[in-house]
C-alpha cells in the first residue's frame, strides 16, 4: 500500500542561533510514504515540533535551516524541493499540498468570526475564482465530513466544545485535499473519549482520501495504535524508526525503552512501576 514516497528529507538540520546555539534538529533523513501515518515521538524539547515546522519552512529566526533537502513528490509526478521555493510558490504549496493542525489549534480559532467565515478564508486565499455559493457549499460539506454538521456554519467557536473545535481545525486542514497533513499534538488537550472519536475520524478520512500524516505527540501508546511507522526522536536525532509492533516488542534504542517504560500499563502487570519506593528522577 505504501510503496511510493511522498516526502524525502535528506540530512535536514535546524539550529536556533542563540548563544550558545541550539541544534534542535540534527541531520535527519527520512522518507515518508504516500498514505502512511508516521508517528513522531519524543519528550519536550527533542525537536519534533521544530522538524515539522521546518518541513513547511514555517520557522522564524533565530531558527535557521542549516542543511538538508526536503523534496515533496507531488502526485502530478513533479518533484518539489521545498527549500528552494520562493515566497509565492511557498504560499501556493502550503495548505494546498501540505496542511497542518497546530498544537492547541482548537484554541486559536478567531472568536469573533463564525466557523463558516474562517473555513471560507481557506478558499478565498487559495481558490480566488470560486463563487460565494460554491464556497459556502464546500464549507458545509467539510463540516459534514468531520461530523460537526453544516448547520454549524454560522456558529462561533465559543459555542462549540473542544472536540468539535478540533474537528473544525481538521476540516480546515482537509479543505484543499492536501497530500500531507502534519498534526502536532492534535488530541492532547482532549479527554480520552473525545480523543478516541477524533482518532477514529482521522483514520477514516485517511482511508478515504489517501493523504499521509505526520502525527506528533509524546503519547507513545497512542502512536502505537494509530501509526504505520514510528520515529523516536531524541536531542534532534531520529534514534529509532520502525513498525509499532517492533517498537513495542523489540525496541532497539535504550531511549525508546525508557520512553515505553514511562507509560504504566493499563491492564498488564504492575511490574516495577510505582509504589515500590523507587527513587524519583533527578529533575
Amino acid at each position: 500500500m505504501f510503496d511510493e514516497e511522498l516526502l524525502t528529507l535528506h540530512d535536514f538540520s535546524v539550529t536556533y542561533e542563540v548563544e550558545p546555539p541550539v541544534h534542535a534538529v540534527r541531520n535527519v533523513s527520512l522518507a515518508l510514504r504516500r498514505g502512511e501515518i508516521l508517528g513522531l515521538a519524543g519528550e519536550s524539547g527533542c525537536g519534533k515540533t521544530t522538524l515539522a515546522y521546518g518541513i513547511q519552512r514555517l520557522l522564524k529566526p533565530p531558527a535557521v535551516i542549516t542543511s538538508g533537502r526536503t523534496v515533496f513528490h507531488d502526485e502530478s509526478g513533479v518533484d518539489i524541493d521545498i527549500n528552494t521555493l520562493d515566497v509565492a510558490a511557498l504560499r501556493a504549496f502550503r495548505w494546498d499540498k501540505a496542511s497542518m493542525v497546530f498544537q492547541g489549534a482548537m484554541n486559536s480559532l478567531n472568536p469573533v468570526l463564525s466557523i463558516g467565515e474562517q473555513l471560507g478564508d481557506v478558499f478565498t486565499a487559495h481558490r480566488p475564482g470560486m463563487s460565494r455559493r460554491d464556497r459556502t457549499a464546500e464549507c458545509g460539506d467539510l463540516l459534514d465530513l468531520v461530523k460537526v454538521g453544516r448547520e454549524r456554519l454560522r456558529s462561533y467557536p465559543h459555542e462549540l466544545s473542544g472536540g468539535m473545535r478540533q474537528r473544525v481545525m481538521i476540516a480546515m486542514a482537509l479543505a484543499l485535499r492536501p497530500q500531507l497533513m502534519i498534526m502536532d499534538e492534535p488530541t492532547t488537550a482532549l479527554d480520552v473519549l473525545v480523543q478516541r472519536e477524533i482518532l477514529d475520524e482521522i483514520s477514516q478520512l485517511r482511508e478515504r482520501f489517501g493523504f499521509s500524516v505526520i502525527f506528533i505527540t509524546h503519547d507513545l501508546p497512542l502512536l502505537l495504535e494509530i501509526s504505520d511507522r514510528i520515529a523516536v526522536m531524541l536531542e534532534g536525532r531520529i534514534v529509532e524508526l520502525d513498525s509499532p509492533e517492533n517498537i513495542y516488542r523489540n525496541p532497539q534504542h535504550h531511549y525508546t525503552r525508557r520512553l515505553l517504560e514511562s507509560f504504566p500499563s493499563l491492564t498488564g502487570d504492575r511490574g516495577g512501576f510505582l509504589r515500590d519506593g523507587e527513587p524519583a528522577g533527578a529533575r
Binding site: E43, D219, Y248, L259, L274, R283
Partner: protein
C-alpha cells in the same frame, strides 16, 4: 487519623438565570489517612466540582461534608485548622506558583501561617521540605520561572506538605508535565503518601496511572458515581458500561499486540 466524608452531596450550578445544571448528584465517599482514591471521568463529569467543594471554593447545594465527623467550618480559626489538614496540589505548576516570589517565600508562608515550627526553625524546615521532594537546597532563592515544570510541581507538593496535612487533593498533578518526568513525580507522591500516612484524592482522566497509583477508583459520569471499587477490579473487570467505554478508549498496547498479526495495520 484524618477522615473526610462526603455524605449525599449534590451541587447545582445556575446557568443564565433560570436554568440549572446538576454537577454532582448524591455523591458519597470517605477519604481517610493512608488511602488513595482516584477519581476518574471525562471533562465535565464533576471531578473538579468535588475538589472545589473540598477546598471550599464552592459549597454543596445539599448533603454534608464532614472532617472527622464535623461539618467544614466556614470561617475563623476553625477554617484555618481545616485548611491546615486538607491541602491541594493543582494541575498547572506554571500558574499555581507566584512569579514574584522566591521558592523560600512559597514554603515559608504555610509554615508561619499554621505555626508548624517555631520561628527560629523555619529556615531549617524549608530546607527539609525541599529535601523531601528531592530538590536541591540552592533552589531556595530562585523564582518559579527559573525552574522546570517538574521542579515547580515538586515545589507545589512541598508547599502542600508544609502544614503537615492529613489529606491531599491532587487535581491532575502530572498531566501538564512532560511524559519523561510524570512517573518520577507520581512515585514521589506515592512515597510521601506512605511516609506521612496521607489520604490522597487523585483526580485524573488517565486510567492507567489511576490504577497503579490508588487503592480505590471512583468513576464519575455526569455528576453520578457509576462505579467504585478496588483499582484492579474497576479497570480489569469493569461493571458499568461507562467504565468500559473509558477503558476501551484509552490507548492500550497490551491489547493491541496480544493477538498475533502482521507488522503493519492497514
Amino acid at each position: 487519623m484524618t477522615t473526610l466524608e462526603f455524605r449525599n452531596v449534590s451541587k447545582k450550578y445556575r446557568i443564565r438565570g433560570s436554568r440549572e445544571l446538576l454537577a454532582l448528584d448524591d455523591v458519597s465517599f470517605t477519604l481517610e489517612s493512608g488511602r488513595t482514591i482516584a477519581l476518574v471521568g471525562q471533562s465535565g463529569s464533576g471531578k473538579s466540582t468535588i475538589a472545589k467543594i473540598i477546598t471550599r471554593l464552592e459549597s454543596a447545594t445539599t448533603g454534608s461534608v464532614l472532617l472527622d465527623g464535623e461539618p467544614i467550618p466556614s470561617r475563623g480559626r476553625a477554617l484555618r485548622a481545616y485548611r491546615q489538614q486538607v491541602r491541594m496540589v493543582f494541575q498547572d505548576p506554571f500558574a499555581s506558583l507566584n512569579p514574584y516570589h522566591t521558592i523560600r517565600h512559597h514554603l515559608e508562608r504555610p509554615l508561619r501561617l499554621h505555626h508548624v515550627v517555631a520561628p527560629g526553625e523555619v529556615d531549617a524546615e524549608v530546607l527539609r521540605l525541599l529535601d523531601r521532594v528531592r530538590l536541591s537546597a540552592d533552589l531556595v532563592e530562585r523564582r518559579p520561572h527559573e525552574l522546570s515544570g517538574g521542579q515547580r510541581q515538586r515545589v507545589a507538593i512541598a508547599r502542600a506538605l508544609a502544614s503537615r496535612p492529613g489529606l491531599l487533593i491532587a487535581d491532575e498533578p502530572v498531566s501538564m508535565l512532560d511524559v519523561s518526568i510524570r512517573l518520577g513525580v507520581l512515585n514521589l507522591l506515592a512515597e510521601l503518601q506512605r511516609e506521612s500516612n496521607l489520604g490522597v484524592l487523585y483526580i485524573t482522566h488517565d486510567l492507567a496511572t489511576a490504577r497503579h497509583f490508588s487503592d480505590e477508583i471512583m468513576v464519575l459520569n455526569s455528576g453520578v458515581v457509576v462505579e467504585r471499587g478496588p483499582s484492579d477490579d474497576v479497570i480489569l473487570n469493569p461493571q458499568h458500561a461507562y467504565t468500559r467505554q473509558l477503558r476501551d478508549a484509552s490507548p492500550n498496547p497490551d491489547v493491541l499486540f496480544s493477538t498475533p498479526k502482521g507488522g503493519s495495520r492497514s
